[in-house]
């Protein structure tokens, strides 16, 4: 890793804290900045620094090392430690890079969708949300996870509610998200309480060690695992705990939707992995049972029912939101296999899906920006009205379906292979059947866009009006990335294998 030389020694160690602290502090400053442009520039600089830092950390772990950052100089398990290892650096990088892209996209988008007075605080809330997500991924302390989980959630509620100036349903959606999100977080914290009762420590690695010594622990540990699973399940929109997701994605400002869709559920899923496989361990009966039957079962249910619901939506954002529920199902299925291959596949899909969904929601945001379109029937003629954006949407859609030479194909290939290796032939058919459902709900949008004439207003055909460059660039970066992964997926698969190595799983 020759590139690592560009990153100072200091950053390789302190980067873990920097990536969290910087957006947190700057978020607070952003909230009181007088000018929105200033706030935007601050945000851009901060997330750029985070991205570079995250990239450095990624290189460190690709080099096969892991870092334990001692917050406040206290040694773990007493102090809070931040852990950088193969499991979380890809997610850290994903979150910060997506934050960077959405910030670029936000320049036109936020102006269109958020009231002028609220824009600077909006960026503040966004930065704090980024800090929360990064924090919950980076921290090695279980209670700290809860704190950051809530930091990110609370800022997310605010961000979703900001959609109210565009669509009042954002308020109801944010409220629903708040109730369910808080219940989820509370369940999680109850679980942590039980875990603390069982082991007397909050350091995740230490809990893991103690539980190993206790060989899985007593019923208290089981209850703890149950609560944590439900709590995180709510956060990651595990079927049937996904009720908050469609509304939140559909009515939030486009900016927020993109960021949420590509990072929030992913970070929660990362935590689920972390807790199920490293804090607890699949060698414990109850964990294995939950992972094998619950994750797989609910994953498959999500894939089928989420895709079916996606087909019947009249709002394009809702279609994609339900599709996200289904895609989380794919990840859970991979995780549910609990084999090294399955974990790799689930993790790879986690990364790929973030790229794909990000591109798709970027495109939807651009449609709204130019023509105020969200309903599927209004897609008529978009192929002519916004060829570049619709092109990006089409390529992203194909990737979601899982067409070869796109990222989605890599995910499905890996998942199917892992399923067969595990001896789960039926799972392959669920995967493929839901791909066919994806053809239907994506195809419907694409066909409407290309095969129906643009609408007429006052007898005049609506003219071509492409999205601004600041929207097209991040959109096409993700589309290009999706195709790059489809052609050469080595680095993503390598990240997946690295994560699977940390997780272990059953052999």
């Amino acid at each position: 890793m020759g590139m690592l030389e560009f990153f100072p020694e200091w950053l390789q160690y302190h980067g873990a804290a920097l990536a969290v602290v910087l957006p947190l502090l700057m978020g607070a400053i952003c909230a009181i900045l007088p000018s929105e442009r200033l706030a935007w520039i601050t945000t851009l600089i901060v997330v750029s620094i985070c991205t570079v830092t995250a990239f450095g950390l990624l290189l460190v772990t690709f080099g096969g090392e892991s870092v334990i950052y001692k917050m406040g100089g206290w040694d773990p398990p007493k102090g809070i430690s931040y852990v950088i290892d193969g499991l979380n650096t890809p997610v850290i990088f994903l979150i910060s890079a997506m934050a960077l892209l959405t910030t670029l996209y936000g320049l036109p988008s936020v102006v269109a969708e958020v009231e002028p007075k609220k824009r600077a605080p909006f960026y503040g809330a966004f930065l704090i949300g980024v800090a929360g997500l990064l924090g919950m991924v980076v921290t090695g302390d279980a209670f700290n996870v809860f704190v950051f989980l809530e930091v990110s959630s609370i800022s997310t509620y605010v961000l979703v509610a900001m959609g109210a100036s565009r669509d009042r349903r954002a308020l109801a959606a944010a409220y629903r998200y708040l109730i369910l999100g808080s219940i989820g977080a509370t369940f999680f914290v109850i679980g942590l309480g039980f875990l603390y009762m069982e082991t007397g420590t909050l350091n995740m690695a230490d809990i893991g060690r103690k539980l190993q010594e206790l060989e899985g622990g007593s019923r208290v540990a089981m209850v703890a695992f149950g609560f944590i699973t439900v709590g995180l399940g709510l956060k990651l929109a595990m079927f049937p705990l996904h009720m908050w997701l469609p509304g939140a994605y559909a009515h939030a400002p486009s900016f927020v939707t993109v960021f949420l869709a590509s990072t929030a559920t992913k970070a929660a899923l990362y935590l689920m992995l972390r807790f199920s496989f490293t804090v607890f361990d699949v060698s414990f009966d109850y964990v294995l049972t939950v992972v094998t039957y619950l994750f797989t079962g609910l994953g498959c249910a999500a894939m089928v029912l989420g895709s079916l619901q996606a087909i019947f939506q009249t709002d394009a954002r809702r279609t994609l939101a339900y599709s996200s529920v289904a895609q989380v199902g794919y990840m859970l299925l991979g995780v549910g296999m609990a084999t090294s291959l399955g974990l790799t596949a689930g993790y790879v899909h986690l990364l790929n899906h973030a790229v794909i969904k990000g591109a798709l929601f970027f495109a939807l945001g651009a449609f709204w920006y130019r023509y105020g379109i969200t309903r599927t029937e209004d897609f008529a003629g978009l192929g002519k009205m916004m060829p570049w954006t619709m092109g990006a949407f089409t390529l992203g859609g194909l990737s979601l379906i899982g067409v070869p030479l796109t990222a989605g194909f890599i995910s499905k290939l890996q998942l199917a292979e892992a399923a067969l290796q595990r001896g789960w032939g039926w799972a392959v058919f669920v995967i493929m059947a839901t791909s066919i459902l994806a053809i239907i709900y994506i195809g419907r949008l694409i066909l409407t866009a290309y095969f129906q004439a643009p609408p007429e207003i006052d007898g005049e055909v609506v003219k071509r009006n492409e999205a601004p460059l600041m929207m097209l660039i991040p959109m096409w970066i993700l589309v290009a990335l999706s195709i790059t992964i489809g052609v050469n997926s080595d680095f993503v698969v390598q990240a997946g294998q690295m994560a699977a190595e940390v997780l272990g799983g059953i052999s």
Binding site: A17, V21, L25, A28, A31, K70, G73
Partner: protein, 146 residues
């Protein structure tokens, strides 16, 4: 608004006491129960009481909302800034020991003081901000319609 004279007199007596108590809790947090969180809430309670008795506008004159907003940020920055200083001194984030290298426990003392002060500022400001935000909304319906 002309509040009841008893309330006015009693509150005038109480508010300084409440503020004093807040600072007691704040600084005694080192040795006993207390700290920035609790002190912040108590401090905010003093202002809120003032607002309840004399009206929101009076309270806003005393503590303008812009101060509150700056207070929030300042609190967070004081907390984070302490960490940044320890960073600049070449140690981990919030590792107070480096503040006074020859006597680490003193550094810890100063560090925690700064951090708790930040917490006090932030919590008090946030509490006030929430109160102002809710209190200053103009209900577009009359009370009977609720």
């Amino acid at each position: 608004m002309t509040p009841h004279v008893i309330l006015r007199v009693v509150s005038k007596l109480l508010i300084p006491l409440i503020a004093m108590f807040a600072f007691y809790v704040q600084f005694h947090g080192d040795y006993g129960p207390g700290g920035g969180f609790q002190a912040g809430v108590i401090l905010a309670a003093a202002v809120i009481l003032y607002a309840l008795i004399f009206g929101l506008d009076e309270a806003k004159k005393a503590i303008p909302p812009s101060w509150v907003r700056i207070g929030m940020t300042l609190g967070v920055l004081l907390y984070g800034g302490t960490g940044v200083v320890t960073w600049l001194l070449g140690s981990e984030f919030l590792s107070y020991g480096v503040l006074t290298p020859d006597h680490p426990s003193h550094g810890q003392h100063y560090g925690i003081l700064a951090v708790e002060l930040g917490v006090l500022l932030a919590v008090a400001s946030v509490m006030l901000a929430i109160f102002y935000a809710f209190g200053s909304r103009q209900p577009e319906l009359s009370d009977e319609d609720w």
